[in-house]
Amino acid sequence: MTTVTARPPRPLPRISKIAGRYLVFDHEDASVLRREANTNGSLVGTLPQQPTQNMFLGLPIELRPEEAEALVHKNLARVVDDVAAHQAALLRSPESRTAYIQSLRRDKAAAHRVLAERAAQKAAVAAGKAGGRKKSKPKAEPAAASNAPLAPSDGDDTMFASAPPAVSSASSPRVADSPMDNFGVTLTSSRDLIPPDVDREFEVSDTPQGPLARYLQDGGYHTTPGLRFGSEYSVYPGDPLRFHAHFMANQYDWDEEIPILDIIEGGRLATAVKKAFVIAGSDPSKGEAPENVTAYSIEWAGM
């Protein structure tokens, strides 16, 4: 499943369990899950300032519990109780808190640098267009801006500190006009807050499992919620951005009686949308999912 790459091995993608939901916040984790673990999840994130109810949502992605369980079962991801981990990390020692603040400062400094470079580039382009009269001045600015954040003041340890005065005003009065002065860093990630050992301590192992989710994950299928097709999963042979779903899958208990009307409906609806209806169950006497899962596909023949 995992491809051999030259890069150093990444830690396993981290799934945060928050209020019973399984969320992936890190975009790299999300892309790893999508690329290498055929799990795409559904985007659920939106901005509190500008909530949207359409389908154009962003990170985090939400996984269904059985999907998360299937990933953990295959050792492709780990689930962490995020609330407990945060509390433990914050309460453990004051050093962890200060370390986190330092990391935020680093992020902020990096952002400053990037912005300054971009502004400098723009200025250079503008100067070039104007006729190359002031070529020397814009070049001096990025150096000043990038040097300044490297020496932050130690006394300030509020999380949402405004840009330290040393950054802009000390080096050059011209930088104060640049947009980065009003630039505050929003807390985007608490990744650096939780040390790895604490993270490992709060890993969750009692995720409810779904045999069919494991089976589909194991078979390399992508799944999305199948509610609009009247099933539990829409099953894709590859990335949903590339393929249409081929199956609509429902999971049943091994001894559960399946009403004939359900099979007729599922088969009829699936065939109407050019898919096949899949029913699956796992035999508890034959070991563990996904090896013991049996699945049948049903199509409306219309003889």
Binding site: L227, R228, F229, G230, N250, I260, L261, E265, R268, A272
Partner: protein, 503 residues
């Protein structure tokens, strides 16, 4: 008014029919298999209507019509199919035409196998819905092929035109063209179905270069190019014709990709230039090329001429248990015989149907007695309810629902509603006994809603309030009618509402 000749139309489907085919409203005059004799109404403003009334009244007194039901049909209970079989041809027609009861075992619904067979053999001119359906399907397939052909033709013409225009521009040699020609010469992004199909399936099938799915260029003729033009007819022919019109091998419509000669496509859909047959008759073998014995086919097709005179009706009518009980209990026009030929009473019939509403049937001596919420009773209550209100309920298994409701009958209109029977245990006795209502998922709900809205029907949830067993048994002692009074039926219609579409 008394319709004296009503039993006759029941057998009117035979060959001695007059040339004109009867219209549906003539065939299906009676909505139920019993006759009614209403007196004409009296209008005080029109004194003559009193004479009419008096005439009809005296006529009915002097020669009273036969007691209804005048004709009692006979059916046989079949355990294997859990249905009641009607084998008499007249009864079959009568039950179908007077209320749309039952289903022909060899037909879709109306028992018309004999007629279909005669039409198929050319013995009779007529309209049979099954044949009509097959024809309509064939026509639809032909229309789809024609549409696809026209689309391809359009694409081809557009390409020719564009090639000609490009040629003209190049001949004119103005300053702007080089850029455009350059763009055209680039391998275009694969947008059409043919190009997408020509894409390699995986990285494994690529020998080295990324190929954009474009087929051979006319300028680089090799042995493999013939191969391609054979297998991929449509795209190639269009390219060739564009080459002909432009008469030069310019870079316009023929993007050359290095290494294409080496490319071997593992899998692709081939459009065969010769399509032997797109439509099939029902008598055709499953795969024409693999017909086991051609002589067998001939003998089959010869049968009609040989056995034309002795066509025996092999069909019987199947009544669902609910229909049989309605005809027996509510209308009294049916007697059901068990396997040994003895007629069953209404109570015996009810017990039999209740026992067979589950599989395996609860016929053994140790099996528990069915509760008042068994499948048969629930469905019968709903059937009885809607039949009494004048609707025509028919089995809805083909759409995944319990009943389909027709306004007048399947020959007149499509079913308007799909009914789902859901037991409701609102009585305190059920709550104390720990009975729970059926647990259904949203997926179940959505799939039914989608299937029904796809066939333009409305979904109706029919809740049946089930009485507690002791009350039911008590009422059943005094008769089935009293027991049925304990059930209550509530209907809730569900419609999918979308804010975008229902503005």
């Amino acid at each position: 008014m008394a319709e004296t000749s009503t039993p006759k139309p029941a057998m009117a489907s035979a060959n001695n029919n007059p040339a004109r085919e009867r219209r549906p409203h003539e065939i299906y005059v009676q909505p139920a298999p019993i006759k009614t004799f209403p007196l004409p109404s009296f209008y005080p403003s029109n004194p003559l209507s009193f004479i009419q009334l008096a005439y009809a009244w005296i006529g009915q007194i002097l020669s009273p019509p036969a007691a209804e039901p005048s004709i009692i049909h006979q059916g046989t209970w079949s355990v294997a199919t859990t249905s009641v079989h009607i084998k008499d041809a007249q009864s079959m027609r009568a039950l179908w035409e007077q209320g749309f009861y039952g289903k022909g075992n060899l037909s879709r619904s109306e028992p018309n196998w004999l007629k279909r067979e005669e039409v198929r053999r050319g013995l009779q001119e007529g309209h049979v819905s099954e044949i009509h359906t097959v024809e309509r399907r064939e026509e639809r397939i032909r229309a789809k092929w024609e549409r696809a052909r026209l689309e391809q033709e359009n694409i081809r013409q557009t390409r020719e035109r564009e090639a000609r225009q490009a040629e003209k521009r190049r001949a004119a040699g103005d300053a702007d063209t080089p850029l455009k020609a350059h763009i055209l010469a680039e391998p275009l992004a694969p947008v059409g179905p043919a190009e997408i199909l020509a894409l390699p399936n995986s990285a494994a099938s690529l020998p080295g270069n990324l190929v954009n799915g474009f087929v051979k260029d006319g300028s680089s003729h090799g042995e493999s190019s013939d191969d391609y033009s054979k297998t991929n007819g449509i795209l190639d022919s269009s390219l060739e014709t564009s080459d002909d019109t432009s008469s030069t091998e310019g870079p316009i419509s023929t993007p050359v990709i290095p290494g294409l000669d080496r490319l071997k496509r593992r899998k692709s859909v081939r459009f065969s230039p010769t399509v032997a047959s797109t439509t099939f008759d029902h008598a055709d073998p499953p795969s024409p090329g693999h017909s086991t014995n051609p002589k067998q086919n001939e003998s089959l097709s010869l049968v009609p001429q040989a056995g034309a005179g002795v066509l025996i009706n092999k069909e019987h009518l199947q009544l669902m248990p609910e229909e049989a009980l309605w005809l027996n209990f509510a209308l009294g026009v049916l007697v059901v015989l068990d396997g040994s030929g003895t007629p069953l009473s209404t109570r015996a019939l009810l017990n039999l149907f209740r026992q067979h509403s589950v599989f395996p049937p609860l016929t053994g001596p140790d099996d528990p007695a069915p509760l008042p919420d068994d499948d048969f009773l629930l469905h019968y209550v709903v059937y009885h309810h809607f039949r009494s209100l004048g609707w025509v309920p028919r089995a809805g298994i083909k759409f995944g629902v319990d009943w389909l409701l027709y306004n007048r009958g399947p020959v007149f209109d499509h079913a308007e509603f799909g009914l789902l029977v859901i037991p409701s245990y609102s009585d305190p006795w059920w709550q104390s006994s720990g009975k729970r209502k059926p647990q259904k998922t949203w997926q179940w709900f959505h799939s039914i809603l989608r299937v029904l809205s796809h066939v333009m029907k409305s979904m109706v949830l029919v809740y049946v309030d089930v009485p507690p067993p002791h009350k039911f048994e008590q009422a059943l002692e005094s008769g089935l009618a009293d027991a049925l009074k304990l059930y209550k039926v509530r209907e809730i219609m569900v419609k999918r509402w979308s804010s975008n579409r229902n503005r």
